[in-house]
Amino acid sequence: MGRFSLYNTNIDFLRWRQLAMIWSVTVLLIAVGSLLIRGMSLGLDFTGGTVIEVQYPQPVEIPKVRETLARAGFGDAQTQHFGTARDVLIRIPPREQGNAATLSNDVLHALQGAEGGAGATLARAEFVGPQVGQELVEQGGLAALGALAGILLYVMFRFEWRLAVGTIAATVHDVIFTVGWFSLFQIEFDLTVLAAVLAVIGYSVNDTVVVLDRIRENFRKRRKGSAMEIMNASINETLSRTIMTSVATLLSVIVLYFLGGVVMHGFSIAMIVGILVGTYSSIYIASATALYLGVSREDLLPRAKETADDRP
């Protein structure tokens, strides 16, 4: 890798802030549009229903499995390979009648009874009743809102309000972008993905706070320069850190994507997307929003009385 030079960079990031804003707004509109039109491909956790993962001792053809299921009265089941040709994933939408709780056993029984299915074993079965799914949606939404509110309070308490608003704008941007990505490409959104989105909130704020910390420090330290110049300098000074941390975290999540198994795919994708936009938004959304709101040196200087009191 060698020693890539990220020092003494003097990139005029904020010069392109208008372009960045146009880009961000466009992307967000696409994301929101996709959410409204295409909606989310919600996973079993939220929709309710049954998912059964069956492992065969030998590769198995999907049409045959479908036929067996249709004969056993599961014509509404969706069947696909999962990971390898020996693994089959079967989804059955929520049912009004019948005992949903024993569905997984009936399906497995039917498959084992069919030709070539004698050695089929149950790898995983999940059944979520409709009332549980509804609750998980509510709780997930509450958790996301709670996390945003908690972080907003913390940032308001630690920073000046313009920077706090910038941070929240950046975080909301990242969440919409990540969720929009899942909607646009119709990737299944389940509980682990929700957990990843909350981790993205944490990561995005983390990343933004580092830049804001430096902006505050530089506003206090430097006498000269416009707000924009100081912000640009701060972004440049923290650039190598921003890139190092993003790459380190990205690396670990990419490893998770390739080695963590199919179950971790959604989680890893959400984190990868979130880390990338989180890095971008710390630079363009957070700082630019604060700049638009008219942050100035006076806003960030410690109030005279407080400094006097702080002295030992």
Binding site: M1, Y7, E53, Q55, A100, A101, S104, N105, H109, L122, A123, R124, A125, E126, F127, V128, G129, Q131, L136, Q139, A143, A144, G146, A147, G150, I151, Y154, V155, R158, L191, T192, A195, L198, A199, I201, G202, Y203, V205, N206, V209, V210, D213, R214, S240, R241, M244, T245, V247, A248, T249, L250, L251, S252, V255, L256, L259, G260, G261, V263, M264
Partner: protein
């Protein structure tokens, strides 16, 4: 700034403290190194079944007869553990033992830590693996509380009718309207006032509301509703616990979730169909008079019951002879609750019967005062077994005498059962009476099953991902920061050790998303080191001496590290508060990881830097 020489030196106690923390981490993380043996655990189905050395020999002989390779047998308090080299032998052994030992013993599959005994004696255990990593079933069950309250209101309808009749109050109808409660209609206002007074006196727990024109509505008060709901939930938990015991699960979890739900986790259970059958069994009750003419023990030894009698066993396995004729069935019970008897303060169970039941009870008991009466608890179960390659469903019943008491008086609508040993026994009896008579409908609303091989695969993939990710980050950091990168890697490894130690100590459940949390923490934990090192580089570029740069780097980066970690912690705590199951596992590892990384990445790596670079003159520093 003071002279650079004295900078970057920790007092000896700080090194000691860090050393002690790391020692603690290594000790607590140690049990995780040994892995787990597939094992079969045998315990007695009842308290009086001895699991002793003689029993151990019997089991050893059984296993040897089948030529099953096994590691060792361990006799622990009330249970026998047999370790096997692989799961195939384990499953075979469990089947054989189940067949040979019969229903007196609970044969359960278990994963036993192969950590040496002294570690376990010190209370050190490996991390507790969630069902997605060890395989097993998770059920979330919901108790139908509306049905429970309806049952209670129905019993009040009966009660109100009796009260009004005895007090000779004229009414036109008593019923339970769709909106709930009990509604009484009258022909004139005077009768209504009379009824209100009677009911206020005799059924003070009901709230009265006058309805136009001539109605009276009686409703349950909040505290009573809450009490009944709690009771219904507890009763279901007790019933489920009894049934799970029979399923043979080594470490089942049965606990309340929220106000009307029960979580049942059965690690290692593969046959979910059987689990559902057993958990979903229905129960009934029968009251029978005792056979006072024959010797119960004699009947037990000959195994033959006299004519007109049936031989039962009580919960301790002692023989009980009851008459064949059934006095009363559980359908007649409208309520059963435990309490303390007023006169002598002993624990008692209060039983209330419906009108028809009361009549039958009176007739049956009036000529039998001084004789004994037994209560039989009957569970109807189905069992699916593979017979000659075909799955066959067989129904069977388990009958057990849960109480034998002397009839002291002619029993009517309300009677009490006393002579119980403890309030706990009274409580259990009340729960069983209700379970047989008034079981609240219960429904599985969520199921998550992971097969044992899928669980193994999950854990292998998870750990491989974590290990590779640690390696990749180590290489990346070392390429960029040279020696300091190695220090960051050491801090990261220490972080993983502390995280595993904390999870082992708290016995928090490790899930697959939890492993994702560990991987993510690794990526984020290096952030603290990146912040510090970048700061040191900056200070060096600004012309500071190496020692001053190190000092300032750690010092100035700290505020930022604190800010960024606290914000992530807020998100993690929110996840913990709202998340369920596996997601909670993610929140737990993420939160603990943030806390431990603050320690290792700041204090730990500082100590290493001080040890290597501190206290001497540095001409040049490569970061």
């Amino acid at each position: 700034m003071s002279t650079p020489y004295t900078l970057n030196q920790y007092p000896w106690w700080k090194y000691l403290l860090i050393g002690l923390v790391m020692l603690w981490g290594l000790i607590f993380a140690l049990p995780n190194l040994f892995g787990e043996d597939p094992a079969v655990q045998i315990s007695g189905a009842r308290a009086n079944i001895a699991i002793d050395a003689a029993f151990q020999n019997r089991v050893a002989a059984l296993i040897d007869a089948e030529k099953l390779p096994h590691k060792r047998l361990e006799l622990e308090e009330g249970r026998l553990l047999i370790r096997f080299p692989d799961t195939e032998v384990q499953l075979k052994a469990a089947d054989i033992l189940k067949d040979q030992l019969g229903r007196d013993y609970i044969v359960a599959l278990n994963l036993a830590s192969s950590a040496p005994g002294f570690l376990r004696a010190m209370g050190l255990n490996p991390m507790y693996l969630g069902l997605d990593l060890r395989g097993g079933v998770h059920f979330l069950m919901q108790v139908d509380m509306d049905a429970t309250i309806k049952q209670i209101e129905d019993s009040y309808v009966d009660e109100v009718r009796v009260q009004l009749r005895t007090e000779k109050v004229q009414y036109s109808s008593v019923g339970r309207p769709a909106s709930g409660g009990v509604q009484v209609e009258f022909k004139d206002a005077a009768e209504r006032d009379k009824a209100a007074a009677v009911l206020r006196k005799n059924l003070p727990s009901l709230e009265q509301t006058a309805l136009d024109p001539l109605g009276l509505k009686l409703s349950l008060r909040e505290p009573e509703i809450k009490e009944k709901r709690d009771f219904a939930l507890q009763q279901n938990i007790t019933t489920l616990r009894n049934r799970v015991n029979e399923l043979g699960v080594a470490e089942p979890i049965i606990q309340q979730q929220g106000s009307d739900r029960i979580v049942v986790q059965l690690p290692g259970v593969q046959d979910t169909a059987r689990a559902k059958e057993i958990l979903g069994a229905t129960a009934t009750l029968e009251f029978r008079l005792a056979d006072e003419e024959n010797d119960w023990n004699q009947a037990a030894t000959t195994g033959r019951a006299p004519l007109n009698s049936r031989l039962y066993k009580d919960r301790e396995g002692r023989p009980v002879l009851l008459q064949k004729r059934v006095m009363l069935t559980g359908d007649s019970i409208v309520d059963a609750s435990s309490g303390i008897e007023q006169q002598n303060g002993s624990p008692a169970v209060y039983v209330t019967l419906d009108g028809k039941g009361a009549k039958r009870m009176e007739d049956a008991t009036k000529d039998n005062i001084g004789k004994r009466m037994g209560v039989v608890f009957i569970e109807n179960k189905t069992e699916t077994k593979r017979v000659d390659g075909e799955l066959k469903k067989t129904a069977y019943t388990v009958e057990e005498v849960i109480n034998v008491a002397v009839i002291r008086d002619r029993l009517g609508r309300r009677f009490q059962i006393t002579g119980l040993d403890s309030t706990r026994e009274a409580r259990d009896l009340a729960l069983l009476l209700r379970a047989g008579a008034l079981a609240s409908p219960i429904e599985i609303i969520e199921e998550r099953t992971v097969g044992p091989s899928a669980g193994k695969e999950n854990i292998a993939q998870g750990f491989r991902a974590a290990a590779i990710s640690l390696l990749v980050i180590a290489v990346f950091m070392t390429l960029r920061y040279k020696n300091f990168g190695l220090i960051a890697t050491a801090a990261l490894a220490a972080n993983v050790v502390l995280l595993i130690a904390a999870l082992s100590m708290l016995q928090a459940t490790l899930t697959l998303p939890g492993i994702a949390g560990i991987v993510l923490t690794m990526g984020m934990a290096v952030d603290a080191n990146v912040l510090i090192y970048e700061r040191i580089r900056e200070e060096l570029r600004n012309g500071n001496s190496p020692q001053a740069a190190i000092h300032a780097g750690f010092d100035r980066a700290f505020d930022t590290i604190l800010d960024s970690n606290l914000t992530t912690l807020i998100a993690a705590i929110m996840l913990f508060g709202f998340g369920t199951g596996p997601i909670k596992g993610f929140a737990v590892t993420l939160s603990i990881g943030i806390l431990t990384s603050m320690f290792t990445a700041v204090t730990g790596s500082r100590a290493l830097v001080n040890l290597i670079y501190g206290g001497r003159k540095l001409q040049k520093l490569t970061v």
